[in-house]
């Protein structure tokens, strides 16, 4: 009640006093929180720095977090201040006193709208740059990728999702198929992700790669590993009964070790490879899946006779040049 009867000057003074208090708390807390986050938590934010793309995602996450923290702290500071300072006392509550009227305050409204718009457009510009610069940021780009690495030698690895396991084919090495995922360090890699039955999602966690495995679609994701070590591969799209158990591990090894492993495995599996359908970017999926089902197809899925269209491959040879690099 006192505020409504106070003179306009005293009223404005008290307004600015409250605003100054909130602003001071907000600025101090924001700076402290941002610094703490950036230097303490930032370097450990998933997915880590195992690949160029993962490092980009980590940097992007950290930048968003540094922008988001002051927003959150602003609202929380304001709410906290309001709850403590502007609560009705028990005595007031009985007679339902009226707060200071504020209906429009046009300058506040317009500056709120302007600031949120600027922040949002800025985040969009930053996000788009971070998407395009590291060749699609590790996300699946579909069959016609438009953000590609600039290097000529890109190692293609086909990832085949099926209920409920991952297999990998290496077209540069005769198209052998294995359940081991070995990739060379410091090399541009194109994961060609496809599925034989339902939709899976290839998530190489530490590499920062994620691409849906769609039946009949070649979904390409680029990545350039920069650290040796093990990474987890999980299925990230619900694919039925054993979705939760559909995971394995991949390894980043040195290019020389990779070349050695690939050539030996190619020889070791040569007999096996002959029985496989010829390498293609996509294969006829099995609508009936592991559970059996509806479509009485005459084709035996993933067999030589069942290539999905004429989408056969001409793979650029990947070989000694990459091994030496």
């Amino acid at each position: 009640m006192a505020a409504t009867t106070a003179s306009a000057g005293a009223h404005r003074a008290r307004n600015s006093h409250d605003l100054r208090t909130i602003a001071t708390i907000w600025v101090v807390l924001s700076i402290v929180a941002d610094l703490l986050f950036w230097f303490l938590a930032g370097p450990h934010i998933p997915p880590g720095r195992m690949s160029d793309q993962a490092e980009g995602a980590q940097f992007d996450f950290n930048v968003l977090f540094v922008v988001a923290l002051p927003v959150v702290i602003l609202v929380w500071t304001y709410l906290g201040f309001a709850i403590i300072r502007w609560r009705a006392s028990r005595h007031d509550a009985d007679e339902a006193p009226v707060g200071v009227p504020a209906r429009t305050a046009l300058r506040i409204q317009t500056s709120w709208i302007a600031i949120t718009t600027v922040v949002v457009i800025g985040l969009f510009g930053f996000g788009t740059y971070e998407l395009i610069a590291p060749a699609g940021a590790g996300g699946g780009e579909g069959p016609t990728a438009i953000w590609k690495p600039t290097t000529k030698t890109i190692l293609p690895i086909q990832v085949i999702g099926q209920q409920w396991m991952w297999t990998y084919r290496y077209p540069s090495f005769g198209g052998f198929e294995t359940s081991q995922l070995i990739v060379p360090d410091n090399t541009e890699i194109a994961f060609h992700v496809t599925s034989l039955d339902v939709i899976h999602d290839f998530w190489a966690y530490q590499l920062g790669v994620k691409a849906d495995a769609n039946p009949g679609t070649d979904n390409i994701a680029y990545v350039k590993p920069q650290q040796l070590g093990r990474f987890t591969v999980r299925c990230d799209e619900l694919c039925g009964l054993w979705h939760g158990a559909m995971y394995n591990y991949g390894h980043v090894v040195s290019p020389t070790a990779f070349y050695h492993w690939a050539t030996t495995t190619e020889k070791k599996l040569a007999a096996n490879t002959k029985t496989l359908p010829p390498f293609a970017w996509t294969y006829t999926p099995d609508a009936n899946g592991a559970d059996g089902g509806y479509y009485l197809d005459n084709v035996n899925p993933y067999s030589k006779s069942s290539l999905y269209g004429a989408n056969t491959v001409k793979v650029k040879q990947y070989g000694a040049s990459a091994a030496q690099s």
Partner: protein
Amino acid sequence: MASTITTPVAGNTAAPPPAQRVRNRPAWASQHLGTALIGAVAGYAFGHWIGNVIGAGYTVPQSNGENDVAVVLGLALGALGYLIGIGAFNYPLAKLIGREPLPEVAEEGWQRYFRFNLDHKVVGMQYVIVSLLFLFTGGLLAMAIRTELLNPTNHFFGAGTYIAVVGEHGTIMMMMASSVVIGPLGNWLVPLMIGSRRMAFPRVEATSVWLFSAGYLVILTALPLGGFPTGWTGYAPLQTQSTAGMDSYLVGFAIIGMGMILAGLNLGATIINYRAPGMTWGRVPIFVWSVLATTALLVFATPTLVVAGLFGILDRTALTAFYVNEHGGSSFLWENLFWFFGHPEVYIMALPGFGIVGEILPVFSRKPLFAYKVGAAGMLGVALLSFFVWQHHLFQSGINPDMRPLFMLTTELISIPTGFIFLVGLGTLWKARIRFEPPMLFALAVYFNFLIGGVTGVFLSDVPVNVTVHGSFFVLAHFHYTIMGGLIFAFFGGLYYWLPKMTGKTLNRKLAIWHFWIMFVFFNLTFFPMFIIGLLGQPRRVFEYATRLQGLNDFSSVSAYILGSSFLIFAFNFVWSIYIAPKRAESNPWGSRGLEWQVPTPVPHYNFERLPVVVADPYHYDEPDQGVADFGTFSEPALSEVAAPGEQVPPADVQSPDDSGDLDPRPPIV
């Protein structure tokens, strides 16, 4: 002042219906929930039999012993029988065969809540009960999920049971959330808030609540049919290959969808056409704005879901190939259709929550709503933008990559109108006199929770970050923060705020405050760790996870149990305060200026003795002398004096052509 008063509805002075016999059947011969259930069982049996006649000759049922034609027809005809049993089709069928349907007596007493009732207040309470049934069923399933996730490798359920529980939990909660505010509070409050005696289409309204409960029964049948393995998103081709539980999902969503469309049409038509004289667009309560924005989404987005479900049903029964890649269809078609509905659906859930908060804040801070116009514009802006963001669910799916920046932009743009809602709330709190009654606590919690949900939404919209967090527990935490932290908190705030008016009973304040604090604290303790769990690499819907994440998962599970038990406090409070030890509520216990609080409790059958003439928006807490509406001080007898409760309104009162204030030219509901 008089010049600003407008009459939204053009005069319609059709002749009143002639006096008629009224239906007055004994209780055993009338139609109620019991006959509806009998109709459902009979319909299911008949449909199943017909389906076996049609489909048993196909090779597929013969090869695997499962006939989806029979299941689908059984469920669809079961729902139809349910509606016939409740009497939803009595009126249109009588009209169809050329008979003049008998008007029904306005019922009193508890029986009316189990019948096909045309009073929007009864329908609203029916929605409350069905919504709570949905919520508690889904909540129990959530407890089961958290139990399975107590241990990364030892399993409480089998993989099949777990996946069925996950799908059932998600679907039930999504079905509930699509109507949880629009249904109960929207139907109950909108006519009162805009000064109308009734809904535009009372029969459509009553049909929508019975469709809603039919959907509940249909989705429950998924469990005995073996569940469905797809989660609530129902992605094909997994959808096509799964067993009969999938039919419950598809039929159930179609039924719920039809109920949503009908509810949206009715509410939208009511808000546009049935506002009282003087209820201009500048005076419409913010909750009504949020419902109006939501009805647009319900009417334009939901048909996509119904059609997509129909395609799925055809794929599974008639062997069409809408979603079957190798037969010319595409699994991307389902993804696009589903999310074209699915993202507006997210705002179908969020917007009414904002509306509730906008109603509660001014009352308990004793201040006018700040930036009312920006708030209303924000809701309409969110509704419009929500149709242009759906592909952000498909960033890694293999769609054309060049669309990605566009959908990143539209998704981030939506945070601007959402920010308006925060502007409204924070501005209203400025130098307020805040009273911490239970509704206010829930409203403030919405701002706390939705802030986290909204900010993490910006992370998800950013494609490079999305590569890591898409499909992980991070997403799961995000949408629980928006839907549960936003909508469900707002829903309970709304219940504590409006139940005294709806039921005429006072809810226990202490229990309400206990409910709030337990729910608020343990909601955050349950779902905040899930952001971290997701970032650390746990995908959604898995029953096995990395052993290093067991600590966080167990913490989340234990918190979830306490969160779940907080709802028992509400259930106890509800039953105790309303049925066992009822205490009469005042007609305006919170000192609100809303139109709905100015009518007596219990609210009379036709809401207003005379139609009010609205003279101001309901937020003039700064000018205590400013009136809300003119409720009429005429010499003519009031409605209650010429018609006993439940009786037909005499035609003379309906016409009243020279009444200067009571300008409702519409005939009463018959």
